[in-house]
Symmetry: C2
């Protein structure tokens, strides 16, 4: 759980007056000349659907390599990692068979799902809202049937990531929990806080001791429709068809751009997002935003002629979505390479207006951050929460780094997450750039003062 630490803001103390002026200059530059929005357009339009192992993921590697050079990084290099390679195959199909004919359903396979037989799969459906209900129904109630798991995200949780944390277990573990009792297919109500027609994909994980059954998500609108039909007893059967499959692991890369530290080159400050995306859209909020913001940090420091005391690295992590292999490769290297990894900052919560940072520190280390807090108030960041980083930087804790993440406003994130509407146009230029402003300020301060 995250704890609200403090949001007391007071005038910037004299000690930081110079930093305040430098941050102002960087902010003005980013808000007027920032390249993050243009880079996001390029990434989204030229390399959409950058799922690990795909041709577009490779294209994204090349594109961001070029962007980091253009941004002025001293060194740009690739860090190899092997990644899972899952393919969706042909567009999935699903419909409910009723007395009044077929009712088609907006679905997509969950990531890692197996396909159906080539001719599809037909079975009766049973709707549940929890694992408990599955357990109660047992083999008798579930064997040979398709489970429709209709658990809506909790709207009363103000931070939508809390609602996601609560609901995501059904996507990750639902298919095997249903297969345990002999279910032959699984359909999840899309994890979204809005009602719309986009099914949201995302990783599911099969329990190796259970049969692997095809697993879909259905749009929230169609989940509501299906619920009404099921409640009326109108659904005779459901048809599912998908040709997705897992291929052998494929070679891929993290992309790294670096400004070498002028005083402590062996102390590394990392900032990053993830380069891969799900395959249904352009991966704009998730996580093109974090990628182009991290590149912007490099550009903005260079544009002000700042030579950081410690080495600053922007890292485009590969394979956050379905494996985390890029984050692991980076931290494996960090543990072994003899450098000192002091901080890892991630942006993977969308390119929305920034509201705060989560920081995985306590005591004197935490105080270093809260002492800087007044410097962020002019740019809308008031929250400093004790918490972790994200999936890609958290492994850096093994290398003794403090980790953290940007906390943007969360209200719209699950309108787009892993869905076909996560496109460039869903990102607002100023919101994206303000995130980059605050990230640049924090990286600037850590690279200057350490922690």
């Amino acid at each position: 759980m995250r704890k609200l630490l403090w949001v007391l803001v007071f005038p910037v103390s004299g000690a930081f007056a110079q930093d305040s002026a430098i941050i102002r200059r960087m902010a003005d530059d980013i808000l007027t000349n920032g390249q993050a929005y243009n880079n996001l357009r390029i990434l989204c339009k030229q390399a959409p659907a950058r799922l690990s192992g795909s041709a577009n993921a490779a294209k994204a590697v090349a594109l961001t390599e070029a962007m980091l050079r253009e941004a002025g990084a001293d060194t740009v290099y690739l860090q190899p990692c092997m990644v899972p390679h899952w393919e969706r195959g042909a567009k999935e199909e699903a419909y409910a068979v009723t007395g009044n004919g077929r009712v088609s359903l907006a679905v997509c396979a969950l990531g890692n799902s197996v396909g159906t037989p080539a001719t599809g799969l037909t079975a009766s459906v049973v709707e549940v809202r929890s694992f408990d209900e599955l357990d109660k129904l047992g083999k008798k109630g579930l064997s040979g049937r398709i489970v429709f798991l209709n658990y809506p995200m909790n709207q009363t949780l103000v931070n939508t990531f809390s609602a996601y944390s609560d609901a995501v277990r059904y996507r990750v573990m639902g298919p095997s929990a249903a297969a345990k009792y002999g279910a032959v297919g699984f359909i999840l109500r899309t994890l979204s806080t809005s009602l719309n027609d986009f099914p949201h994909t995302g990783t599911t994980r099969y329990d190796s001791t259970m049969p692997k059954i095809p697993a879909f998500a259905v749009s929230t609108n169609d989940a509501e429709r299906l619920h009404v039909l099921v409640a009326k007893g109108a659904v005779k059967s459901i048809f599912m068809k998908a040709s997705c499959r897992m291929l052998p692991d494929a070679p891929s890369y993290n992309v790294i751009g670096e400004i070498r530290g002028s005083e402590h080159p062996d102390e590394v400050v990392t900032v990053g997002g993830h380069l891969d995306s799900w395959d249904l859209a352009e991966g704009a909020q998730d996580d093109g935003a974090g990628i182009v913001q991290s590149i912007e940090v490099i550009r903005a420091l260079k544009a002000q002629g700042i030579r950081p005391a410690r080495t600053v690295r922007a890292v485009m992590f590969m394979n956050e979505e379905n494996g985390g292999r890029g984050g692991k490769a980076y931290s494996d290297n960090a543990v072994a390479d003899g450098l000192q990894y002091i901080f890892g900052l991630e942006s993977d919560n969308g390119g929305f207006t920034p509201r705060g940072f989560s920081i995985g520190a306590k005591g004197a280390q935490l105080k270093a951050f809260t002492d800087w807090a007044p410097l962020f108030e002019p740019y809308g960041v008031y929250e400093w929460r004790v918490g972790g980083g994200g999936a890609d930087v958290d492994p850096l804790v093994r290398a003794k780094a403090v980790v953290g993440e940007l906390l943007p406003d969360s209200q719209r994130y699950f309108d787009f997450h892993h869905a076909g509407n996560d496109v460039f146009e869903a990102v607002n230029r100023r919101e994206l750039l303000l995130g980059a402003v605050n990230m640049t300020a924090l990286i600037y301060l850590v690279s200057k003062y350490g922690i």
Copy 2:
């Protein structure tokens, strides 16, 4: 100027523990059963383009009267006011004549603008960026020409309303400033923080000592294009055509829904938004959002069975956009009716995620609000700024009321403001409802404790 007062947040003190629980119940209800989003859809789709004096403005009066009854107001009534009645007429037309033919421009007339002659108006163009440049060019440089005032909003101001305050003088006073030197037409670069194809309208005000010249806004994208053409000397002339006109004042109404106070019925707590909108779109962010949020306050109080100690009024103000007559009628009445107007809260900054409140108070009155601040932290409101209310509640200061306004995130507001894309779909359900949560909490507290 607004001053950031404090954003210190600490645990809710024992004195407010019961209030904290009641606010939690109201918030849960609003976030799950709230009607604000549904009401916004109805208002936007059934009564778009609710410009004062129009048939749709009258329809909006009837619609919100019904919504207030449905929300459970004890009394719903209309408060008459006469309003200006301006009509746009036929779709405006404008193009630049170049050596390579006509380049059409996305334009709209500014509100209150006169029309052109029926056959249009053709003149050479001169581009300026400031009033100073107009003064320098003088009669010699401007007489008989069309002025293109190309002043971009300042991107470095983090609060976009500050950038708007800086730029809006060119819309309000630009046409007469140009007419002073004999200009025959005026084209303003749209006041938007984004580059897009929507011209934004809004009020212009003619100086009665100057000739009234037709005044347009051109989209930011076309302002950029026109700038390039003008800089190259490629524009021979510009053509403008519009048939807008001012009609006699028309009768209209504020719509008021009230819950009578149980202990101090003569003390009135007002919450409102404005019912009129510009005519180019649906007036969703401006200010359908404030309207449906204010109705939601009534619904949410009633849904929890709360009988406020003081009278709570939701007011749908008419004519904020081009006259402020509704706000004036309400405050005229407040000064005269013998009741005590203790607080007026406005929501007219869009239905985006709430971040704070501006409060026009000091000393002990201000402390009443800041003592409540911890109650708002769970709902994302951290900022308590000393400032005014909005255009509709500010006149209540004459009736000795404290005024205030909701401060939502401002980054996207000027993407939509007064433009054709300000439609229902531009509003996010959760962002809108969270605003209503915080407004309801504040009205609940003021109605219980006074100030």
